[in-house]
């Protein structure tokens, strides 16, 4: 569970979210929606501990994110960015193995248990057959799944994803959203991801959060969403 209190998030001088309080539940996939530039990514970066909030606190499993060491944070929150990783000569298994970094020794040697975690993570996203494929030979959807497997291998109670469905075709988007909901429910994890797909958010997620600067609306009503996205009923 991720709880935040009096949270203010800014990008430069721009206040994106002001004095918001609420929580993202465990075993739920929450879709973070909002217009371009509303501050979805900035909010996710703050929740991941990459950026500091302007004000307020974020607590994960009851512990203040700001008081955690980098290593402790890495064992608590995993993050999948929008950055596409296309490195030649780097196998999927190596990338997913990097997710074990918070648990490995100074040079990152994988134990048998780590290897099993990597295999399980690849299996969970349906990419077991791709373990020895290199990252430059795969489609966008496959790469995205590997990056999610990496987050799973990190074995954290919280997984945050920034627009995981972009670059994917329509069936791919629905599949991925289903996968993320499954990960949340089966693993009891708190999954939060930003998306522009309102349909996916409504049909495949357990909850919706809306960023409408300077407000962060948890579980907004359909009317509010329609207003923000200028959706009108055409008869």
């Amino acid at each position: 569970m991720v709880e935040f209190e009096n949270l203010t998030v800014a990008h430069g001088r721009n206040i994106l979210v002001e004095n918001a309080s609420g929580r993202f539940n465990a075993a739920e996939a929450t879709a973070l929606i909002g217009r371009n530039g509303a501050g979805k990514s900035s909010l996710l970066r703050v929740l991941a501990g990459i950026d500091r909030p302007k004000d307020g606190t974020v607590r994960v499993a009851g512990k203040d994110l700001a008081s955690m060491s980098a290593a402790e944070r890495a064992r608590t929150v995993a993050f999948v960015t929008t950055q596409r990783v296309r490195i030649s000569n780097l196998s999927c298994a190596s990338v997913v193995g990097m997710g074990r970094a918070p648990y490995t020794d100074w040079i990152g040697r994988l134990s048998d248990a780590d290897r099993r975690a990597v295999e399980a993570a690849l299996a969970a996203v349906g990419m077991s057959d791709y373990a020895s494929r290199t990252m430059d030979t795969m489609s966008d959807g496959e790469c995205q799944r590997v990056m999610i497997a990496r987050a799973l291998a990190q074995d954290t109670p919280v997984i945050l994803l920034d627009e995981p469905t972009s670059f994917l075709d329509l069936p791919g988007r629905y599949e991925l959203a289903g996968l993320l909901s499954g990960i949340a429910r089966e693993g009891g994890k708190t999954v939060v991801y930003s998306t522009h797909e309102l349909d996916i958010a409504r049909e495949r997620c357990d909850a919706i959060a809306l960023v409408d600067p300077p407000l962060l609306v948890m579980r907004p009503s359909a009317d509010t969403i329609c207003k923000i996205f200028h959706i009108t009923d055409k008869k």
């Binding site: 290593a71 929150v77 960015t81 490195i87 780097l90 970094a101 100074w106 040079i107 990152g108």
Partner: protein, 332 residues
């Protein structure tokens, strides 16, 4: 696993080739020697002149080649990984232009103040080059500590080194012929100016740089995925950046100080290693760079001696096709 077996086999082959090239390198020079003659001379079993040539000139030069090749290649790997840019090399941060400035101030600046070029040179070009390289890196590191985005650091480094290059040009323009020539010769690079006591310093600095590099291997590997990913996997970005900068200064800075700026090796070797081993994992690429870097520099030295041309011309002629290949390979 077959992959691991292949990796070890490749290392064994590369090590054997390096050893062979090391001996061949010592046979080439103004007087050609057979491999047997070199071997005997190494153990003191030859006439005193040959023993002297092999032991105190060729052996040292071959060792310098090994150290320089290994150090520049590892430094290139670090910069390519840190900046996630295939065309980064040991000199992207301005280490070579910093070293050039140090040497230019030393060789060109001192005569302007009344000392003769020859007097000044004996004082130690290497020290001036190292001071210049370290000064530039200090500035970059100070800027980098305030910058979140590593790309800004890369651009600043490149601009800073162009600026420093302009200052060097001004110094060149103002200098007298004698001083200018010794500066230009330094910029062409040479593996042969290192004395036995200097070799000890070079070896110690390279060893320290490699050990620092090994200590930073885990964060370096995670940085392959980008700084955001690395940060969320527990990497302390500022600390890792600093450690990697220190390692690169020790490696590339020291080699440049003693041998002059040697281009293309640090840029090309890491790519060849990644392709050869089929693995981008820095824990494989770094030892690969050490061995293949040494190999490459020995080949360059052999060609340089055989053709009587400066080492920098050889590394460029060999390195440019590799760089073109990288660009073409990364086109998609």
């Amino acid at each position: 696993m077959t992959g691991a077996g292949r990796t070890y086999r490749l290392f064994a082959i590369l090590l054997a080739v390096t050893a062979l090239l090391f001996v061949v390198d010592m046979t080439v020079g103004s007087t050609s020697l057979s491999i047997v003659a070199v071997w005997d001379a190494l153990w003191g079993d030859a006439d005193p002149t040959t023993v002297k040539i092999v032991r105190s000139i060729r052996l040292i030069k071959a060792l310098v080649a090994v150290l320089a090749g290994a150090a520049l290649s590892v430094s290139g790997m670090q910069m390519q990984t840190l900046f996630r840019n295939p065309l980064a090399g040991p000199y992207v941060l301005g280490i070579s232009s910093g070293a050039s400035l140090g040497v230019a101030l030393f060789i060109l600046g001192a005569p302007l103040l009344g000392a003769s070029a020859v007097q000044v040179q004996s004082l130690g070009v290497a020290g001036a080059a190292w001071a210049g390289a370290a000064a530039v890196l200090l500035v970059i590191a100070a800027v980098s500590a305030r910058m979140k985005d590593i790309m800004v650091v890369l651009i600043l480094g490149m601009m800073f080194s162009s600026g420093v290059g302009a200052v060097v040009q001004v110094l060149q323009y103002l200098s007298r012929e004698e001083a200018l020539k010794s500066f230009v010769v330094w910029t062409m690079g040479s593996l042969g100016e290192v004395t036995a006591p200097q070799l000890v310093i070079l070896a110690a600095a390279v060893a320290a740089g490699l050990l620092t590099g090994i200590a930073a291997l885990k964060p370096l590997n995670l940085l392959m995925l980008g700084e955001q990913y690395a940060a969320t996997m527990g990497v302390d970005l500022r600390r890792s950046r600093a450690v990697i900068f220190i390692s690169t200064t020790l490696l590339a800075g020291t080699v440049t100080a003693f041998c002059g700026p040697i281009g293309f090796v640090g840029l090309a070797v890491p790519h060849v290693v990644r392709t050869m081993f089929g693995n981008a994992d820095c824990r494989v690429v770094m030892p690969g760079c050490i061995v293949l870097g040494a190999c490459t520099m020995l080949v360059c030295d052999i060609l340089s001696k055989a053709g009587g041309i400066p080492i920098n011309a050889v590394t460029a002629l060999l390195g440019i096709p590799v760089v073109v290949w990288i660009v073409l390979k990364n086109r998609n």
